[in-house]
């Protein structure tokens, strides 16, 4: 038997085998055909594809299915924002609402290294773990522990812990998904519209005297800001100033007046 015959035989044998298998598989794919809605794939294409789960569904694929089946609102994807909403609306032929202002997270604590420690914590580097030891190592029970639970919660790498041991948010990377808000055990992070310029960066309801003894930047509830505000936008409840974003005109008087430098313009 020469080489050519072997070659032809080999090609014939494998080709024949492949052909038989191919025919069987084509028949099987007809028999076991699954009807999928082509809209699902179209919607999936316009989604960010980060599979972050911020919409409440298990990934973008699941969300696309639910949107097409009308179980989820077209506004459901917090990452994509208005742009994606418009595209999904276009595919499904639905009315699109007005564009909403982007919201970015604000960390309501300026403590970090400015806040004194009760003890030296050595253990698992996670805020929730630190919390288990008598509400954390910081003297202030409301403050940021700086162990980066929010950093790990962020799927986009938008949060870092800065030199003051405080989370710093990069708005260029942030997609307003809100996963950091949910991850913080002290509920220090909130989402607020970019037009809300002035923020009280403290969350402590402790009395002024105590705050002053443990933290150089905490709100002591002195009410100076409330007095100086021309718009009456600041209220102090339980030793913590709160700004009403509806009334605030971002004049900056309170920022100058605050003895602890707790109130700040956002970056």
């Amino acid at each position: 038997m020469n080489t050519t015959t072997i070659l032809i035989q080999a090609i014939a044998a494998l080709g024949g085998l492949a052909m038989v298998i191919g025919i069987v598989l084509v028949m099987a794919s007809k028999v076991f055909k699954v009807e999928t809605n082509p809209l699902v794939d179209e919607v999936l294409d316009v989604l960010p594809g980060a599979n972050c789960g911020a919409c409440g569904y298990a990934g973008c694929g699941e969300f696309a299915e639910q949107v097409v089946e009308d179980n989820a609102p077209i506004t459901g994807c917090p990452l994509g924002g208005f742009e994606v909403e418009e595209k999904i609306g276009g595919i499904l032929g639905k009315e699109v609402g007005g564009e909403e202002e982007p919201e970015y997270p604000i960390v309501h604590c300026k403590g970090g290294t400015n806040c004194t420690d009760r003890f030296n914590y050595i253990g698992v580097e996670d805020c929730k773990a630190v919390m288990l030891l008598s509400e954390g190592e910081k003297e202030c029970n409301y403050g940021c522990m700086g162990r980066g639970t929010c950093v790990r919660a962020c799927p986009f790498g938008a949060i870092i812990i800065d030199e003051n041991k405080l989370p710093k948010i990069n708005n260029n990377l942030c997609t307003s998904c809100g996963l950091c808000v949910a991850s913080c055990p002290n509920d220090l992070i909130t989402l607020s519209a970019i037009s809300e310029k002035v923020h009280v960066l403290c969350n402590s309801h402790d009395k002024g005297k105590f705050v002053k003894s443990v933290c150089s930047t905490g709100c002591i509830g002195c009410k100076l800001c409330a007095k100086v505000c021309p718009e009456d936008a600041i209220k102090v409840t339980k030793f913590l100033a709160e700004i009403d974003p509806e009334k605030c005109t971002a004049c900056g008087d309170c920022i100058e007046k605050c003895p602890q430098n707790t109130i700040e313009f956002r970056d």
Binding site: M1, A10, L17, V24
Partner: protein, 195 residues
């Protein structure tokens, strides 16, 4: 193997030559799909089906197509083609009838195609010169052995999911520890059943 009776071949496939824990074939689904018993069961069923069918089809292909034409050197390629198409078939069936299982198996379902356990099985069948029936029995046995280990492992991992484990060994490292313990149990079958 001194005695090639079917019951011996069966016990051999299930325990003594257990594909996962003794021959360490097919380890990727062993660690990948054993997080919950439900998907482990589904995976085992798929593997049993593929192994049984592969034993039968490759026997036919090898003895009636490649053998007479003296094309034994093509065995490996032909076997892989057969296995891959069987996996495709299983994928169709599961996607049609068990969509939740299809989702939970994910990438590991198409990976059966390149699973060394299945290819290992058909090559072992050829090496041992098993007949058609013997090959099928060995295929079923290997699949069942695979399934037993998968289910045992998933039960272990489901329960240890509730236990406090040091964070440094949580997840895959812990799974390897559990695999060690299981493997120790199976190695002892060498002495229980004389070969």
């Amino acid at each position: 193997m001194p005695d090639n009776s079917l019951i011996n071949i069966f016990l051999d496939g299930v325990f003594i030559e257990n594909f996962i824990l003794i021959q360490f074939l097919g380890l990727c689904p062993f660690l990948g799909v054993t997080k919950e018993t439900r998907s482990a069961l589904g995976m085992s069923a798929a593997v049993i089906f593929v192994m049984t069918m592969a034993s039968a089809v490759t026997f036919v292909v090898a003895s009636y197509l490649l053998g007479p034409m003296n094309l034994d050197f093509l065995e490996l390629i032909a076997f892989i083609v057969v296995i891959a198409s069987l996996v495709q078939l299983v994928e169709y069936i599961i996607r049609k009838h068990l969509p939740p299982l299809y989702k939970s198996l994910g990438i590991y379902l198409p990976l059966i195609a390149s699973n060394c356990a299945v290819l290992g099985l058909v090559l072992l069948n050829r090496m041992e010169d098993f007949s058609f029936v013997e090959g099928i029995v060995f295929g079923i046995a290997a699949g069942i052995g695979f399934g037993i280990v998968m289910v045992l492992m998933s039960a272990v991992r489901e329960r240890t999911g509730l236990v406090r484990i040091p964070s440094s060994i949580k997840g895959v490292p812990y799974a390897f520890f559990a695999a060690t313990m299981l493997s120790m149990a199976f190695v002892n079958y060498f002495e229980v059943i004389p070969i």
